[in-house]
Amino acid sequence: MAINFFVGWSQQELEAELRAAQEDLAAGKSTISSQAGEVRSGAAVELSAQERIKLILRALNKVNPEEYPVADVTAITSTRAAFSGAAWD
């Protein structure tokens, strides 16, 4: 079972965060830094906008699978090769 990094967030909170990430991506930000507590380089978390969006979408799928179906929020990271299609192809 994959980890839901945003467990406990409501759909509204997730969608707000998704919107922010999408705007960052649209604005051309390649990475997003977030810091917790005292500002120290060791505590900084850097994530690409795309990765952030993927994580939020996965979380949204858990909250509302009807609106965010798993097939739409799962990246294709491996495929199987086929060398012919249907019998008439």
Binding site: M1, K62, T74, G85
Partner: protein, 554 residues
């Protein structure tokens, strides 16, 4: 005058002499290596009944898990006893021919288990079981009409529930032997070596009377009931844990194993010294095979900025499927086309690479080979002979083949001993039943096994010819190496020579040529005409070559 022998004076103190291991360092164990507990005891005290049966279990298990081992064991059986024909060696050849024929027919039906168990399966078991299980037992039995039969008893049935404290009460009188009050042999021709004869008979009855009575408590070691000299009197067959065991006299049942240690009454699997290696090799290969299978599921690795497949750039023929929990159940199917040219963005680290793997590495394979070779040697066999004969040259292979022949000879010795008991039992029964007449040499048998292996048949043949010619070898020995009997070879040669002379005589009379000329025509062609001419010149009497063709008879 010869000197007197010197009297050795070994002075001791009241407590004896001071002894140490100062001369031989290894006589003292140190902490530099693992401690070996004392083994200076009888063999059955250093390997328990459970331990021996554990070796049998592991031997049986690994045989069916390791193809090379299965092949090696069956190879030994095939090479040792692919043929093993009884040959009567007594004086009465006519009786021998008759007995050989009777035995040949009996061998087809000798096993009480019925088809397909017969002489061939008996021979195979006598080679396979001692290697894998340590031994096998043969029970000499008969039908209700007294017709001889044998029964193969697997080793696990003897002494299965034997305990170190087991003893048996043995009583012998006349020709009868009782064990724990049960008559097990009523025609034993010699007494058991037990305690001193008892002056009064015990209340147990049955069997022949007369002669001194011998009664004693016998040791039972691993299911073998022993006399005072450690000779088996009987074997204890454990039918079932709840049922009483059955004791079978050692005259009617015998084990087939080759003792390695003095005092052994049961055989240990020949795989004992190597079974851990075989197990490790089998597991290592299985795990490595799994790794290879996992590796082989990968073909291409594409590295790109997003880390996933871009559906806008590739053709996903069938989308992945997911279960109700959102877990992927099948992969997306990507359509590939021959002649595809792929474009990747420069300076992004993007690439497409074939998934390569090189495991196990060369060092691992070498280690595997060395371990496998050691494991083979534990059973006296040679890995190169069995698996990789190309790896050694001609001369080393000849040495290996010599060793293999020696091992096969050893296997055949055990089989020969067992066959002598079985066939001797059968022949005796046949004479009792009137199926064979009596012969004073009825027990004189030998066995004709397959020919010795050779790495170079022509080389060996040339060496034989030279050694026989120089008196360093004999035709009998050379025939034996070929799986032949000199007597049979000479008899056959005589028949063939006689037939050839008969034919030559007929030709000579018909065509008016000499007997020598007819023989020359009949003989196989020589390598060259020059040889033929010279042979004719040597064979013909003076003036014979001047005789015109077809002219003059003898």
């Amino acid at each position: 005058m010869a000197a007197k022998a010197y009297k050795v004076i070994d002075r001791r103190s009241a407590s004896g002499w001071v002894s140490s291991n100062t001369l031989i360092e290894t006589a003292t164990q140190t902490t530099d290596r693992g401690y070996t507990p004392p083994l200076d005891d009888d063999i059955h005290r250093t390997v328990s009944n459970l331990g021996r049966r554990t070796l049998m279990t592991l031997g049986r298990s690994i045989l069916w898990r390791f193809p090379a081992l299965m092949g090696m064991v069956l190879e030994q059986a095939n090479l040792a006893v692919s043929s093993f024909i009884p040959q009567y060696t007594g004086r009465n050849r006519a009786w021998g021919d008759q007995a050989e024929g009777v035995l040949r027919e009996w061998h087809k039906v000798m096993d009480v288990a019925g088809w397909p168990y017969d002489y061939d399966s008996f021979l195979q078991q006598l080679v396979i079981a001692p290697i894998v299980e340590g031994e096998t037992f043969t029970l000499l039995t008969e039908t209700s009409e007294g017709y001889p039969l044998i029964q193969m008893i697997p080793a696990h049935r003897v002494g299965k529930y034997a305990a170190p404290s087991d003893t048996a009460r043995v009583r012998y009188q006349g020709t009868s032997l009782w064990i724990d009050g049960v008559l097990v042999d009523d025609s034993r021709p010699y007494p058991v070596e037990g305690s001193s004869p008892s002056p009064s008979p015990l209340p147990e009855g049955g069997g022949a009377r007369g002669g001194p009575e011998i009664v004693f408590t016998a040791r039972i070691v691993d299911g073998v009931i022993l006399d005072n000299y450690g000779r088996p009197i009987a074997y204890r067959l454990d039918e079932d844990y709840q049922q009483a065991p059955v004791d079978v006299a050692a005259r009617n049942m015998f084990p087939a194993f080759c003792p390695i240690t003095t005092g052994q009454v049961r055989g240990f699997s020949l795989l004992a010294s190597s079974v851990f290696d075989w197990q490790d090799l089998a597991e290592w290969r299985r795990f490595e095979m799994l790794a290879q299978k996992v590796f082989s599921t990968r073909t291409l690795i594409e590295t790109n900025e997003s880390g996933d497949e871009d559906e806008a750039k590739s053709i996903i023929q069938t989308a992945a499927t997911f279960d109700a929990d959102g877990k992927k159940t099948t992969l997306d199917v990507q359509r590939l086309y021959g002649g595809t040219i792929q474009y990747l963005k420069a300076k992004t680290g993007s690439s497409v690479q074939a998934f390569g793997y090189d495991r196990p590495g060369t060092s691992s394979r070498e280690f595997l080979k060395t371990t496998l070779r050691d494991a083979f040697r534990g059973t006296e066999w040679d890995m190169f002979f069995s698996l990789d004969p190309q790896a050694v040259g001609g001369a080393p292979m000849r040495v290996i083949v010599e060793k293999i022949n020696s091992v096969l000879g050893k296997r055949r010795k055990l089989v020969r001993k067992c066959c002598l008991r079985v066939d001797g039992y059968a022949v005796a029964k046949f004479m009792m039943l009137g199926l064979l007449p009596w012969d004073d040499d009825w027990y004189q048998w030998d066995y004709q096994g397959p020919a010795d292996l050779t790495a170079d048949k022509k080389y060996d043949s040339d060496v034989d010819i030279q050694e026989i010619g120089q008196g360093l070898g004999t035709r009998k020995l050379s025939c034996a190496r070929r799986g032949l009997y000199l007597e049979d070879v000479d008899a056959q040669r005589e028949i063939e020579a006689d037939a050839e002379l008969e034919r030559a005589g007929r030709l000579a009379r018909k065509h008016g040529i000499s007997l020598q000329e007819a023989l020359m025509v009949l003989r196989p062609p020589r390598s060259s005409s020059a040889t033929l001419s010279s042979a004719v010149a040597e064979d013909e009497p003076a003036g014979a070559q001047e005789r015109p063709p077809g002219g003059g008879g003898e």
